[in-house]
């Protein structure tokens, strides 16, 4: 009894320790999983499914290990209580049971381990899938980054474009203002030129009209003057005739008058007025 107890105790402790280690490992794994899960910002169906499977496996493993432990404890209590009478027999049975229990524990552990490996594989797959997702995410992130960069570039390009547009608009505005100014100046110059031409033409026309008026007035004056002079000349001749008629009639002697009559008749004879 005394010799078998350390052995049993060691086996039990080993099983318990193995179970505890497994539990700790599982807890750590779950913790790590949750930590990683917390790091994942975007849940997806694969991860949820893996998580659910992992949780089920862990739950089954825990349940089986608890069953094995409780059965082992029960078996140990039973063995300890009936040790006196059935020490030899039971020792063997106990050993057998213990061996079976150990084997079952080992099997259970192996099963758990296999399940765990399977789980690990699945988890690895899930992780791989999550990697794919992550890659996708990374790709998306990269895409987002690219998009962001593109957006940034676009924004910067747009900003640059806006700057260039602003500069162009400013330049265009300046050039437009300059052009408008030039056109306005040209219009003003043209207007001034037209006005000057118009004024010159008007002045010329006015001068021409005034000259025509002056010429017409001068012609009128000359005509009036010539008419008056002609009238004066006629009056002079009439006055001369009147004067001569009055004077010569009295001053000329009869002989002179008759001589002049003879001169007139001689002239008529010369002209053969009387045939």
């Amino acid at each position: 009894m005394i010799n078998t107890m350390p052995y049993l105790s060691n086996e039990l402790i080993f099983a318990v320790v193995a179970g505890v280690v497994a539990i700790i490992f599982i807890v750590l794994y779950i913790r790590e999983y949750y930590l990683r899960q917390q790091n994942l910002t975007r849940p997806n169906e694969v991860l949820e499914e893996s998580e659910e499977k992992g949780l089920n496996i862990i739950h089954d493993a825990i349940k089986k290990s608890e069953d094995i432990l409780s059965q082992a404890e029960l078996e140990g209590v039973k063995t300890a209580s009936s040790s006196e009478f059935h020490t030899a027999k039971l020792e063997k049975e106990y050993l057998e049971h213990l061996a079976r229990a150990g084997k079952q524990a080992e099997d259970a552990i192996l099963s758990v381990k296999q399940q765990f490996d399977t789980f690990l594989d699945q988890l690895r797959d899930a992780i791989t899938e999550s990697k794919v997702v992550k890659q996708s995410e990374m790709a998306l992130t990269k895409t987002a980054t690219d998009v962001q960069e593109s957006l940034n570039k676009t924004e910067s390009g747009f900003s640059q474009f806006l700057e260039e547009l602003k500069t162009s608009i400013t330049s265009s505005q300046a050039s437009s203002q300059e052009l408008i100014k030039q056109q306005v100046n040209q219009q003003f110059e043209k207007f001034e030129q037209n006005l000057s031409d118009f004024l010159t033409q008007t002045e010329q026309q006015s001068t021409k009209a005034v000259e025509l008026e002056v010429k017409s007035a001068r012609q009128l004056i000359d005509s009036y003057k010539s008419q008056q002079l002609s009238l004066i000349d006629e009056n002079i001749v009439a006055m001369l005739e009147k004067t001569l008629s009055l004077v010569l009639t009295k001053k000329l002697s009869l002989k002179d008058q008759i001589d002049i009559v003879y001169e007139s008749l001689e002239k008529a004879k010369t002209e053969k007025f009387i045939a």
Partner: protein
Amino acid sequence: MSALSDVFLQNTYTTTQAKRRLVLLRFFLDSKLFGGTKTLPDVDVNDQVWIGSLNDNFLKEFDKDNIASQLKALSDELAKMPVLTMLVAIEIPEDKLSELGNWCRQQFQKQILVEPKIDPRLIAGCSLIWNGIYRDYSVKAKIEADQTQILQSFQDILK
């Protein structure tokens, strides 16, 4: 022209003389053929000389029976005589007119009568009307013809 008219027109050069002397001849012949106390009123000396110059042959052409017809024929002949109308500035004495008439008959036609008229506007000289055509040979016409030169002379004087 008949012999009567030739004798009648001797020393008769104007229409006025012819008309007056025709009347004088009627008085003279009436007195000679029919007698009477009719005397010629205010007979001009020249007309008296003219009456005295009429020869017997001329007077024998008239008798009591043909005196009217002969005078009418003579009158008609005188009326058909060519007349030179002479416009003068002053009244010319009849003896001077006779000289002018004689000159015209010598220069133009033998059978011509001068009809003197007065136009003081002529100043001197005369203007003539022959066969309805008027032509001025007076001093007035000369002045009008030389009007430009006269005016120029006046203007030269005024300057």
